[in-house]
């Protein structure tokens, strides 16, 4: 048998039908659903009298619109159209018999955090959601990607997706990371190197020692941003860490089924000699803590760098850089660590898990945020929140002056009440720094949770290696 990549193996195991022109019908093992991209799809089902083919494989949770303030049980905290979308999901989940985590359920949270947490996401699966950051689930060695609303309807109705196979792209991170460098810095550095279109047409497999050394949560952070690199999906081969993470989760197999699953999961790796269409290798020790300076996730620089000049770029990027600088209100040549911050947002499906909160709390312990700073921590799920309270992290955040929120997407996107004002500058642990992403005119710098915490204390972007050498 020819040597196959991990992607090849998962693909092969999910082809339901292949047409002569190479178009495949791919079976979908898990379909995650949130309130924004699903209402018309469910309406489509109702109008055509179709059922959800596999409600037991379909998981719904509201996250994008949901306020994260403590008073959210009061419906008045939501705008009318948001409330309608959330209520629509509520009804759809119940009418079609889906697994559902309503706002009132402690397990509610960002769909990409809830899936793995509940054991829905397992190695070797195909996972889709009407959301681009579905890539997150690739950390388990599952083929996971975002889909549009018509495809949501297609998957609901048929549990399949019409797909053509992507190419294989290997991103290898060799060696170990230096102190203060995190999974967030890996994934942002890769995008900085390949560009936001570098992964277009590919499924990325992240591998190498530095990836192996990451926890599952770190691996999710890495895969989460595969989409920002343009890839259809990001994958990491499952290993003992993956199995340990999955074991005992509510929807993970148990007993004999677990043993059978484990046997299969252990076959999920790229064979020696398998063909990759594209390969890049980055030395782990070359990766620095990074931040974004512009309005594209590829606008990445080491924190000890300076704001670039448009003349540093070529072609169309010259104009884009100028536009970014204007929008961000930055001058070429200024030190990144001199950029003053108004707001700090710790959360999102990129960095809203317990380890992210631990990393931030380690920096904030016994400290106060800069006077006038607006800072919030939004746990990725109700369970993350509960655990952080149990570990005393919540108190550290509160003592430091952070708002301690309920779970949701919050300020990752301006779709709920958490938004930046025009010109407000935010250090964010989320994944997109597009113009207006966090609110019209808002300015976003992406970075790791520890660096976000440090910025909250100092009031400017801060090199974590100098600020808290004892914690890095």
């Amino acid at each position: 048998m020819t040597a196959r990549t991990l992607y090849d193996k998962i693909w092969d195991d999910h082809v339901v039908h292949q047409a002569d022109d190479g178009t495949c019908l791919l079976y979908i093992d898990r379909h995650l659903v949130h309130e924004v991209t699903s209402p018309q799809a469910f309406e489509g089902l109702r109008m055509t009298g179709r059922k959800v083919r596999a409600p037991e494989k379909t998981i719904a949770v509201p996250d994008h619109n949901v306020p994260t303030t403590l008073d959210r049980a009061n419906a008045a905290t939501m705008t009318e159209d948001s409330r309608i979308q959330v209520e629509a999901l509520d009804k759809n989940a119940r009418d079609f018999g889906l697994h559902y985590y309503p706002v009132s359920d402690v397990r509610q949270g960002i769909v990409h955090i809830v899936g793995p947490e509940q054991g829905w996401t397992l190695p070797g699966m195909t996972v889709v959601c009407g959301d681009s950051h579905t890539a997150t689930h690739g950390a388990f060695g599952s083929l996971a990607h975002g889909i549009g609303t018509s495809e949501v309807e297609h998957v609901l109705a048929t549990q399949t997706l019409i797909q053509r196979k992507a190419k294989n792209f290997k991103v290898e991170i060799t060696g170990s990371l230096r102190p203060g460098v995190t999974a967030k810095d890996i994934t942002m550095s890769v995008i900085g190197q390949t560009g936001t279109a570098g992964g277009t047409g590919y499924v990325i497999e992240y591998c190498g020692q530095a990836i192996r050394e990451l926890s599952m949560e770190g691996r999710m952070t890495v895969c989460n941003m595969a989409i920002e690199g343009g890839a259809r999906a990001g994958l990491i081969a499952p290993d003992e860490k993956t199995f340990a993470y999955c074991m005992g989760r509510p929807h993970a197999p148990k007993g004999a089924a677990w043993e059978a699953a484990l046997t299969y999961w252990k076959t999920l790796f790229t064979d020696e000699g398998a063909h990759f269409d594209k390969v890049i290798t980055i030395k782990g020790e070359d990766i620095a803590p990074v931040v974004t300076w512009g309005t594209s996730p590829e606008d990445v620089l080491p924190i000890d760098g300076v704001v670039p000049s448009p003349s540093d770029f070529k072609g169309g990027k010259v104009e884009a850089a100028q536009r970014s600088l204007d929008y961000m209100g930055l001058t070429p040549g200024m030190k990144l660590t001199d950029i003053k911050i108004d707001t700090v947002f710790i959360g999102s499906c990129t960095n809203g898990r317990i380890e992210d909160l631990r990393a931030a709390a380690a920096i904030l312990k016994g400290q106060k945020i800069k006077a006038g700073m607006r800072a919030m921590v939004v746990p990725g799920s109700g369970l993350v929140r509960a655990q952080a309270e149990e570990e005393g992290l919540a108190q550290i955040f509160l003592d430091a002056g952070f708002e301690w929120r309920l779970a949701g997407c919050s300020m990752c996107l301006a779709m709920n009440p958490d938004q930046l004002a025009p010109g407000e500058r935010c250090a964010a642990t989320s994944n997109r720094n597009f113009e207006g992403r966090q609110g019209r005119g808002g300015r976003t710098h992406l970075l790791s949770p520890a660096m976000a915490a440090a910025a909250a204390i100092t009031g400017h972007l801060t090199d974590i290696r100098e600020f808290a050498p004892e914690h890095v």
């Binding site: 195991d13 339901v16 039908h17 019908l25 079976y27 093992d29 209402p39 018309q40 309406e43 489509g44 109702r46 109008m47 055509t48 009298g49 179709r50 083919r53 494989k57 159209d81 309608i84 979308q85 629509a88 397992l122 070797g124 699966m125 018509s150 309807e153 297609h154 109705a157 048929t158 549990q159 399949t160 019409i162 993970a252 197999p253 089924a257 677990w258 059978a260 699953a261 299969y264």
Partner: protein, 201 residues
């Protein structure tokens, strides 16, 4: 899309020409996130007063026609805005077929995408259907797509034309999803195989 082969139902007479899509579903209802639910506002401004009271004279408010599944209408039905909300509203209300002497082109095509059969008949035949429809609840009209005929409650049948491909899709309920569903047997086979190979999924 739901299959359409044959339907026998109450037909609501709407002897108006140029029933446009704004009448069918006024623009204030286009803001919805839904494609369904629009039935409540079908013909809203003809059906309800400003304060939401039913206008008793309007045909769909009359007891005999509240559950109509067919509309018999005047010339140029569905003209105006291309909004697909119009067929969505009709379908949501329960209308599966519209009989008229002519239809606006976009609306006509939109109907096929949504499982509504628009039937073009000559003026004299539409007049007979209209008269039959006016007899109320007990006068059920039959629309048979297989045979391409419409039949009045007292058994008079008339043929109608329809594009062969559109007919095929409609009779088989085909759309993107419908086409995948034609491979249901492949999906069943796959699921059975996967259930053995990876029962934990």
């Amino acid at each position: 899309m739901e299959k359409f082969t044959k339907l026998t139902g109450v037909a609501a007479p709407m002897p108006l020409v140029n029933i446009d899509t704004d009448m069918i579903i006024p623009k204030q209802f286009l803001k919805t996130i839904k494609r369904s639910g629009l039935g409540a506002n079908l013909f809203d401004e003809m059906r309800f007063t400003l304060d939401g009271q039913e206008i008793p004279d309007f045909v769909l408010n009359q007891p005999a026609y509240r559950r109509a599944e067919i509309i018999v209408a005047g010339d140029n039905f569905g003209c105006g805005s291309s909004r697909e909300h119009a067929p969505w509203a009709l379908l949501d209300f329960g209308i599966r077929a519209v009989i008229a002497t002519s239809f606006a082109d976009i609306f006509y095509n939109n109907c096929f995408k949504n499982g509504i059969l628009p039937i073009v008949l000559p003026e004299d035949v539409v007049a007979i259907m209209m008269e039959d429809a006016q007899r109320g609840e007990n006068a059920r009209i039959t629309v048979d797509l297989t045979d391409q005929t419409v039949t009045t409650s007292d058994g008079q049948s008339f043929p109608f034309e329809v594009d062969a491909f559109k007919k095929h899709c409609m009779m088989n309920g085909l759309d993107d999803i419908g086409l995948t569903m034609e491979k249901a047997a492949n999906i069943d086979t796959y699921e059975a195989k996967a259930a053995t190979a990876r029962p934990w999924v």
